[in-house]
Symmetry: C2
Subunit: 696 residues, 2 copies
């Protein structure tokens, strides 16, 4: 090759390069968008296939090279998503101790997105420039900042017991909080701190029309964060369940219209709201009816033993429609600034009944028709099925077998129990399908059990009611399980995910901290065929519970409705900087930056301020193309935000560190993305010691 010629060649600029170097790259962007459009429309042209012998030979060769069995090929065919094809379902899983929510495509089991809720997350800018007010909503009443969560139970908003795809709620067991996510933009809009208790477990579960978001407590404490010695347990410690009123129009929980019930100090566990014939009731189970208080260090039985002595714990049956009326009538007391219905009032007015349930239960799950409540006692090989009708009748007839230590009436077990089904060791949690089957996780068996419901479900297929049909082994130690819309009034069948807690040897070792294993089970065929068809490692936290929704119910925004949109108010914000009006405005030591962002520059590119200034930095993304996301960071200042198309953000900080700080776009937005930068100059004034806290 002639070197001189090659040098000359590399100096020849194409038209494209000229286009690139021009201001907004509009030409190139349009060309790219057109190319994408072309590909998108090409994608769906898939004709039915008939495999030729050569193709079968090819497939067989690959299978044998990779040691795949025929079952593996079938599983691959059932889960593989061709490039660009969308999954049928979305699984919203709690992110466990990560404090977030994970969205997973089903059946491909691909992690589509993490949604930041309780833990600051810098990709989304949450807690690093925006979202501080949302996070602060979850702080302890003492003011202590809580910046993580042990997310447990996602709850999709419902209309008539059916997922409506509008909102998602998520509970934090470690700190007793509930987060509210708007599924238009998949962002957390609110965190409420429970004013009574430190830990919850029975949250978040919604009533059938999302009237309330239910948050049941877990480990009993003196209510409202008081101190009491453990010896005063029975006297001073209490359980609780909180009914957070949800305002669908505002997309926010309204604490003023919310209330809680004082409960005995059993460890309330999961909750589920009734629907259909059980609408108006909420069911919550519990363990530690023993009211054990541990003390292994003093030679007493540890909690694990002390909580497991009795044969039964208590199913809590709560009529929230009565409770609501009592609260409206002023029967609640103020505890920690929150309306709480005293236990004696709940007893007297028929708000609360108990029923015996086999010991140390975990799941309490209402059937799709609302007729039955399935309880899995993890130290009992059966699930126990209660009848909503029988419960209502027993309450009406005052059919009690006694009262607990606090005077709560205990419904007669035989009067409310419909059936018990022996499934195996360590049953935890139950969901349902569209064929009249129930599915229960068996922790100690490491298996998923399929069993038949009775009642109106029986006629739907030829099997006997209330019988175990089959079990599928899972790897290992399944906690919860989830079926498609399987805790709603319209279960979809098809898929079940075993939320297997231990993966041990199932994936490549990742150090001593191993992923969990989400195993997709094909439940599309009735009877005894129920294969595992995919293993998905979850190495970003330990999901506790999940819900699966049909994807077409979600009406997500791809760009914000208008340029200058404030995601927190979900409205156009008059404060959003406008194109042509960019600049820096000074008022004494307060500096306001009005900035816009568009491929591929910020305006302004230079911001010169003084040490000690109080800075309000507003940015509008002028983009309106889906996925044309920018990021914005000021290096060294612990600030990063994500600027989705049309989004307006406001960042506040004190310029307490003099120097020269590049700011740049942190999302790879264009070919000239690296060139999308500017400089913040903070001129030293010696004012550092003077810097005051941010005035809002």
């Amino acid at each position: 090759m002639n070197a001189r010629a090659s040098q000359s060649r590399h100096l020849r600029r194409t038209l494209l390069v000229l286009a690139l170097a021009c201001g907004t790259l509009a030409g190139a962007a349009v060309a790219q968008d057109a190319r994408r459009e072309g590909r998108r429309s090409r994608q769906r042209e898939v004709k039915p296939i008939e495999l030729t012998p050569a193709q079968v030979a090819d497939l067989t060769r690959i299978a044998n090279e990779r040691q795949l069995s025929y079952d593996d090929l079938m599983a691959a065919s059932k889960t593989f998503m061709p490039s660009g094809r969308h999954d049928e379902f979305v699984c919203f899983a709690s992110g466990g101790q990560s404090g977030q929510v994970f969205a997973i495509g089903v059946p491909s089991m691909r992690l589509l997105r993490s949604i930041a809720v309780f833990t600051p997350e810098s990709w989304q800018g949450y807690g690093f420039g925006v979202g501080h007010d949302v996070l602060a909503g979850g702080d302890m009443p003492s003011g202590r900042e809580i910046r993580w969560g042990d997310t447990h139970h996602p709850g999709l908003s419902e209309t008539n017991g059916v997922y409506d795809g509008q909102f998602l709620f998520i509970g934090d067991k470690a700190n007793a909080r509930v987060g509210v996510i708007d599924l238009r933009d998949w962002e957390t809009k609110q965190i409420v701190k429970n004013p009574l208790t430190v830990s919850d477990h029975g949250g978040s579960f919604v009533t059938a029309n999302t009237e309330y978001v239910v948050e049941g407590g877990q480990y009993a404490t003196p209510l409202a964060f008081a101190y009491a010695p453990i010896d005063d347990y029975k006297k001073s410690y209490r359980g609780s369940v909180t009914f957070w009123k949800f305002d669908r129009t505002k997309g926010r929980i309204d604490p003023e219209k919310s209330f809680a019930l004082e409960l005995p100090p059993y460890f309330q566990d999961l909750f589920d709201a009734g629907k259909g014939p059980s609408h108006g009731l909420v069911f919550g189970n519990s363990f530690n009816a023993e009211m054990a208080t541990g003390g292994v260090e003093g030679g007493k039985p540890p909690f694990e033993a002390g909580c497991s002595q009795r044969d039964t714990d208590y199913l809590h049956i709560i009529d929230w429609t009565i409770a609501e009326k009592l609260v409206a009538a002023g029967k609640a007391e103020q505890v920690g600034g929150f309306k709480v219905l005293p236990l004696e009032t709940s007893i007297k007015e028929g708000v609360l009944h108990l029923a015996p349930e086999p010991k140390s239960p975990h799941g309490v799950d209402v059937t799709p028709n609302g007729q039955y409540v399935v309880v899995a006692g993890k130290l009992d090989p059966h699930v126990t099925v209660f009848s909503a009708e029988k419960i209502r009748k027993a309450i009406a007839d005052r059919k009690y077998s006694g009262k607990d230590d606090y005077g709560v009436p205990i419904l007669d077990f035989d009067a409310v129990m419909e059936a018990q089904v022996e499934l195996g060791l360590g049953p935890l949690h139950t969901q349902f399908d569209d064929k009249g089957y129930a599915y229960t996780s068996l922790f100690l068996d490491s298996a998923v059990a399929r069993w038949t419901l009775g009642g109106e479900y029986t006629a739907k297929h030829g099997e006997q009611p209330w019988k175990l049909v089959t079990k599928t082994p899972v790897q290992y130690n399944i906690g919860h399980l989830v079926t498609a819309e399987g805790d709603s009034a319209t279960p979809q069948g098809k898929y079940l995910i075993s939320m297997s807690k231990w993966s041990v040897d199932r994936f490549l070792p990742t150090g001593p901290l191993l992923p969990q294993n989400f195993q997709l089970v094909d439940i599309g065929q009735p009877g005894t065929t129920m294969p595992v068809i995919y293993d998905m490692p979850i190495g970003v936290g330990e999901p506790h519970y999940a819900q699966i929704i049909k994807a077409d119910k979600l009406k997500s925004w791809l760009v914000y409705p208008e340029v200058g949109w404030n995601p927190h108010t979900q409205a156009l914000d008059p404060k959003a900087p406008k194109q042509g009006k960019e600049g820096v405005v000074r008022d004494g030591r307060n500096v306001l930056i009005n900035m816009t962002a568009v491929r591929s520059h910020f305006n302004p590119e230079h911001v010169e301020i003084n040490e000690g200034d109080q800075v309000t930095w507003r940015i509008t993304s002028l983009e309106q193309t889906p996925d044309a996301t920018h990021g914005f960071t000021i290096g060294g200042y612990n600030i990063n935000v994500s600027l989705e198309p049309g989004e307006f953000v406001e960042i506040k900080f004190a310029a307490d560190m003099p120097g020269t700080f590049p700011f740049y776009c942190t999302e790879f937005c264009s070919a000239l993305h690296l060139e999308m930068l500017g400089y913040l100059q903070v001129k030293p004034t010696g004012a550092k010691k003077d810097v005051i806290g941010m005035a809002e």
Copy 2:
């Protein structure tokens, strides 16, 4: 069913239940372990298959139900991992603005684990009880806390240019820092803050024996965080490249033995270290040779235009072996407390040379044999290949075409250039395979180009050297790409991942913030066949660069070597509480808790302290079974840690909030996991205002 009989049945306790209720659950745990062992050994019995006509019909039916093409079936067969089967490779990808590192199994493209590096992460407890000292290592010299990162380039440790699987380094562009991960336990052990610059981009890249971890700067600033107005750019702003000395025995970067080079204020971009014939050299490219300073707000050209004026930027050629000797000889100056070789010294002593490179380059990539350096100028349709031999000769012969404004000699382009290959629009970054092919990402074409290397590679196959072979479209806007061990001396071929930056319509919408798209490309066959076989959404951050290592090179620990292991020192810790020695020790207002954790209880279960106490809480996990992880949180106190088998942790906090706080295990460890709890009682003393900062 007879109700009385059923009640009686549910009261019958099995032997298992008794076993469960006993102290350590040892019996049940052993039984479970045995079941797992059985399954594990069963897994591998896969015989070669021949598909029967009925099986082919079944496969075809599934394919047609799901609208899969034959190519889709092939792709599924190439990527599906049967339950329990391990991936062949691990891809370590930067987590972009999440601040973390992602480990992905290849070819299944399953996210195995996230590794917390720069951003606190509560699943791993990082920044929520442990890891504070590691995170603090990355704070700004002013003391400002930085608690996120824009992770860019992971660098696996190398021996003779080959990945050795021991350590992983990762750079943070936003704050110019490097993290060190120990691949025995996949935990971040160290963060070092660059003492000279706010932003980096050329980090982390290792020299061929991991002598140094190279961190090149990005946006020029006055060095060591000084202030200078933008008008003083040429005079006061500088680029830099830092050579962090790595101590393999200690597993730590040693800042005392590290040094940096002052560079001209071009925006240095990527770096790559030579190997074989180029060992001793480090190559770094740059953009903004124009030294443009933006100013769109004042009617000046924005950076995107200003940085794109000239036809060439500068390849930086640095001889670190000379630099090392100069530093040892005391030729470095102290800047920001760090050894920096002044630009004039580097020029005078032959440490630094420049070479023209086509404009606005991104990738600079050394071929596996170390003979060539490939530069992709993103505004030029070619890649330019430089010869290491020619570079050495040109340096020796002082074959200069001139000097830059700072007096740095510029090697004659024709003297050092080996070839240019026209590939398409927006070439960014190049990697290699085992067949003599190079692969370059084309951002604007949204394609991966395969092209032939020349020189000793030519003889390996029948194609012409330095020629484009084929292009595969990707969706969309590919940034970097990565092939298996494709930037090392031993590329493995087989797989390439297109790190596509925009996904647009490829996945279910997830609100306005969409995932990136990691697309797996099958590069196993030579020639023009190079299909995309998997699309993986990345919705947890935007990875910038990645490396893929053969999985069997990783020697991860599944449990810590001894009970009481301190992961920070990687040694048994004498401070670790021992079984039988648990308890609470008070010394004035300092309280020491010695706790152990084992399925399924903590010891002690009661901790009673006073408001205002300074608490040191030590926990040893007594577990030695893989995956028997516990977590530990004190609700309401913003504390959570992960306790891997054998691990010892020490948590310090001030008991400034009185009340009753349950602590519990946050990993689903056993059937009695929910019962693994205790109570922290903080007795009110009114001492709150008195609480002092934690004394170490």
